[in-house]
């Protein structure tokens, strides 16, 4: 007994060395002995910062074989970087600029997602408003249906949207509101599509929110027929952050391809309603949009392909694959011209960056695994090796691709958290972290560079000019002289 206690105390002492604010500073020895019961795992030397329930969601390429665990709900208390079902649906639908997006629930969900990603629109900007029924205690007790009905009618009268999305948050089902009924009623009264988005936060993860959003979109598709040429595509899964969509559509237009609907970046309700008339769905961000592509294939027979617009290789493939699909020599020749031209402009500068950055190491933790895959390739192009790579929502196939693509002993992680990520970055001595807002303090407190590849990026990172911006940003953050003071 006393031996166990001794080892527990040692465990506590070694923790103290790590300069964490530590329990034993607050408690007497007597308390510590009891507390040791909670800390038994701390004495295990192996990567003990990874929770037992999460051990199978971390792997090292070339070292560990077998499939990783993924597609699981986040573990309570793990401080997952993921958000919720509502978040997944909201980020996917929000760029539809001429729709009304109203969040049915208490205020938080609407406040935290107001104009959250800076998705750009070439016309209306109704999507940049944050509408909420802002339920109060009274409605929680007596029901929120009247407030939702009134809110919808008022806002439709005021803003004349082309459609409305009604997001149900956590408590809506629990208090028994029939949102579908209200949507039907308002659709009838106001004669525009009103689409319920069933997104209570607890009904799965962010990924399930993507699915819910796809289903809401699918209800719009096929409700309008506009003349649509044969060489026409829908672009799925680009959200026009920093105007990225416009870079891509420019390439496709140069090839002579008609862009039918962009779902959802710079999105318009009528384009989405007519989306079933395109010849092909080109899907980026597969995690969020494959479901819609599959639904459209089943119902309308529209084939789809998965692409990525990050990095030279993937960007070029995205053009070639579309040309191949249409079996047109002319399209292919034009695609080749674009690629040749763009790469010709890009390569000398990229080579310079590569010389500067050769041998640097990167950690990647992003929402979708498909983006992570592109990033590994894009980084390689500028001489940067990826040593940690993870995503919030990747599936088993994604992680297998990542394993194959990665150098030996690269850490691969699903649904990670600050404890793990900070330890991975330190162990692998990464020079730069590529992630989102929540990962930024991990990089900066440790004292390494950071590149925002999510909500807060203001420079386009897609397409060929995006590759250039990416190289510039990686270079700037790694080469900044400020690191002199942090080392």
């Amino acid at each position: 007994m006393s031996l166990i206690r001794k080892s527990q105390r040692q465990g506590l002492r070694s923790q103290k060395k790590r300069s964490l604010t530590c329990v034993n500073e607050y408690f007497s020895d007597e308390h510590n002995e009891v507390f040791g019961v909670f800390l038994q795992r701390l004495t295990i030397p192996m990567a003990n910062y990874i929770l037992t329930q999460r051990q199978r969601q971390v792997a090292r390429s070339g070292v560990e074989t077998g499939k990783m665990d993924c597609n699981k709900p986040s573990v309570a208390g793990s401080v997952s970087q993921r958000a919720c079902v509502f978040c997944g649906s909201r980020v996917v639908l929000y760029p539809i600029a001429d729709a009304l997006h109203i969040i049915h629930g208490p205020i938080g969900c609407a406040a935290y997602t107001w104009d959250i990603r800076g998705a750009m629109s070439s016309g209306p900007e109704l999507h940049r408003m944050s509408f909420s029924t802002d339920l109060s205690e009274k409605e929680v007790i007596f029901g929120g249906e009247p407030k939702l009905y009134k809110g919808l009618v008022e806002l439709i009268d005021k803003y004349s949207p082309k459609a409305a999305f009604v997001y149900s948050t956590c408590i809506v089902g629990i208090i028994g509101d029939d949102v579908e009924k209200i949507c039907k009623q308002v659709a009838q009264d106001k004669n525009i599509p009103i689409l319920p988005v069933q997104a209570p936060g607890f009904q799965g993860s962010k990924k399930d929110g993507y699915k819910v959003a796809c289903e809401a979109l699918f209800n719009l598709v096929g409700t309008l027929d506009l003349p649509t040429p044969w060489f026409s595509i829908n672009i799925l899964g680009d959200f026009n952050l920093a105007g990225e969509l416009w870079i891509l559509t420019e390439y496709y237009k140069k090839m002579g391809i008609h862009i039918n609907a962009t779902i959802t970046g710079d999105g318009r309700v009528d384009h989405i309603r007519n989306a079933h008339n395109a010849s092909l769905n080109v899907v980026q961000c597969s995690g969020s949009m494959s479901h819609l592509a599959r639904l459209m294939k089943e119902k309308y027979g529209i084939p789809f392909m998965q692409v990525s617009y990050f990095g030279i290789e993937d960007m070029s493939d995205a053009l070639y694959e579309v040309a191949k699909f249409f079996k047109s020599d002319d399209l292919m020749a034009k695609a080749q011209d674009i690629v040749k031209d763009e790469i010709g402009k890009l390569m000398p500068s990229l080579q310079w960056y590569k010389n500067q950055l050769e041998g640097k190491k990167a950690a990647i933790y992003v929402g979708g695994a498909f983006k992570a895959i592109s990033l590994i390739k894009a980084l390689r192009l500028i001489g940067v090796k990826t040593v940690v790579v993870g995503s919030q929502t990747g599936n088993a196939d994604d992680y297998e691709i990542i394993k194959k693509l990665s150098d030996e002993d690269t850490i691969i992680v699903d649904d990670s958290n600050p404890v793990e990520l900070s330890n991975f970055v330190k162990e692998k001595q990464a020079d730069v972290f590529i992630g989102g807002v929540k990962e930024r303090p991990i990089a900066y407190k440790i004292g390494i560079g950071f590149c925002d590849h999510n909500h807060e990026r203001k420079e386009a990172l897609a397409g060929y000019e995006g590759m250039m911006n990416f190289a510039k940003e990686i270079h700037a953050t790694i080469m900044s002289p400020v690191w002199k003071f942090t080392r």
């Binding site: 300069s19 964490l20 604010t21 530590c22 329990v23 607050y26 002995e33 507390f35 019961v37 909670f38 800390l39 701390l42 929770l51 329930q53 709900p73 986040s74 573990v75 309570a76 208390g77 793990s78 401080v79 997952s80 993921r82 958000a83 919720c84 079902v85 109203i102 208490p106 205020i107 938080g108 609407a110 406040a111 935290y112 997602t113 940049r128 408003m129 944050s130 509408f131 909420s132 029924t133 802002d134 409605e139 929680v140 809110g151 806002l155 956590c170 408590i171 936060g201 607890f202 009904q203 958290n417 600050p418 404890v419 807002v437 303090p441 900066y444 407190k445 440790i446 004292g447 003071f485």
Partner: protein
């Protein structure tokens, strides 16, 4: 067209909210306690959104755990998630304290967090664990400020110990910036006052470069100090509205100071947040009385320089029409300061609806005939009112920027959140020195506007 004076919010739904939800406020208080990890009992999204929102403002790590409700938990209760969550926090973070905030979800399904904490403590032998305290923060009741004060009350109710009164005081500044809190510490040292400042997130949310990712950032009010709040000779707290307008678990008690007064007989001094000379004088006088010594010369001179600056700049600001928005206690203090320098607060707005905004303001400044009070308001309504009010300047958090941009008027960013400028934590706006900083920024915003819009582009203004 909006009829001014009669409308707080023009639609039944909220358009561009000028408030946040209660668990965010509670999380701020948790971050102000040494060794504390916040846990939000609800869906994963609540903690992630709040983390993201706070990180964008403070530019610091903000780790908040979640019990991660699944559908099963929503139906059968979140007890198992709670136990797993606490165990995993202990394993990963080894915290001294875990602060638990509920959510709209856990409150609506009727989770009894008190019981969950009690059961956990009993099952785990009731010793050596982190300390727990929990607060009910359903987001359908009030705003983030209700969560903030509810958590502050919960903290003193949990930790304060009744004891013989000693010489130290409690200083509860409410929702101010890390720079403000550091200033208060300096002030107490200068006056020789021993004070428990709570919540103190001056370091946890504005830390030095640490060379590592501190899972629990250093700093925060120590639990031992919170225990001593019960034996303080007095409490000073900033604000007059506090927890009014939300769900109140403590009857007529609206703040931590009121709780200590009622339950532990600690005399309570509620002061308007000290922005401006009048409000700062009142605060300094109270401090000076407690220290039984005059205000140190350093601070007297800061006051003198501030008056000198008021004089130098009075013509740039006189008669300008301002819109002030944000938390109620913040807008009341800021508007009182604006009146002091001759700026007319034409619209004083908040997303909160305590029902006392106007009366609290009038009590401080006397009647304000030119001022429209909009509580329970939102940014879209404010924008519509401003078309008629034609203000010269906006003062408040960064979410009003889109209106300032559209109306081509300056915005002085103060309050929370500030997501589009750097250094929000270092903005200081209380006391003579803080008022000086805020005053300079307001004057310069007006001067810059004049210069930018002048065909001449004066070199001297």
């Amino acid at each position: 067209m909006i009829t001014l004076n009669s409308i707080n919010k023009a639609t039944s739904s909220t358009r561009n909210a000028c408030k946040l939800c209660a668990p965010l406020g509670a999380s701020l208080v948790f971050k102000g306690i040494e060794g504390c990890v916040p846990l939000i009992h609800g869906s994963q999204g609540c903690s992630t959104y709040i983390r993201r929102y706070m990180i964008s403002h403070y530019k610091e790590p903000v780790d908040i755990a979640s019990t991660n409700f699944s559908e099963e938990a929503a139906v059968f209760g979140g007890g198992q998630n709670f136990v797993t969550g606490i165990n995993n926090i202990i394993e990963q973070y080894r915290p001294a304290v875990i602060g638990i905030a509920s959510t709209c979800l856990s409150e609506t399904i009727g989770e009894d967090v008190d019981a969950l904490v009690r059961d956990y403590s009993e099952q785990m032998n009731n010793g050596g664990q982190p300390l727990f305290f929990n607060v009910a923060t359903p987001s359908y009741c009030g705003t983030h400020m209700n969560g903030f004060h509810q958590a502050a009350i919960a903290a003193v109710a949990r930790f304060a110990m009744q004891a013989k009164k000693e010489e130290h005081i409690n200083l509860f500044p409410g929702f101010v910036t890390p720079a403000d809190i550091r200033y208060l510490k300096e002030l107490c040292i200068d006056l020789g006052i021993k004070a428990t400042i709570f919540p103190d997130y001056s370091e946890t949310l504005d830390n030095v470069h640490t060379h590592e990712y501190q899972l629990i950032p250093t700093g925060g009010t120590p639990i031992t100090d919170l225990e001593k709040t019960g034996s303080a000779k007095a409490t000073i707290e900033f604000g007059t509205v506090f927890n009014r307008g939300g769900k109140n678990m403590h009857g007529a008690i609206h703040s931590a100071g009121e709780w200590l007064q009622q339950k532990m007989s600690v005399s309570n001094h509620q002061l308007n947040m000290p922005i401006g000379i009048d409000a700062s004088d009142k605060f300094m006088n109270v401090l000076s009385e407690f220290s039984e010594s005059p205000v140190p010369e350093k601070h007297v001179k800061e006051r003198g320089r501030l008056i000198d600056a008021y004089v130098d700049a009075h013509k740039y600001v006189f008669g300008k029409r301002a819109v002030v928005y944000g938390e109620e206690d913040f807008v009341i203090a800021t508007s009182a300061f604006l009146k002091e320098i001759g700026i007319v607060p034409v619209l004083v707005a908040s997303g909160a609806s305590s029902g006392v905004l106007k009366s609290a303001m009038n009590e401080i400044t006397g009647p304000n005939d030119e001022t429209i009070y909009a509580d329970g308001s939102d940014f879209a309504t404010m924008r519509e009112m401003m078309q008629e009010l034609k203000p010269d300047i906006m003062i408040g958090n960064s979410k009003g920027y889109y209106i300032a941009r559209e109306m081509e008027i300056p915005l002085v960013r103060v309050g929370f959140p500030i997501h589009d400028r750097f250094g929000a934590s270092r903005m200081h706006h209380i006391g003579y020195r803080g008022t000086q900083e805020l005053f300079d920024r307001i004057v310069n915003a007006l001067i810059e506007y004049k210069q930018e819009n002048s065909p001449v582009g004066y070199k001297y203004i």
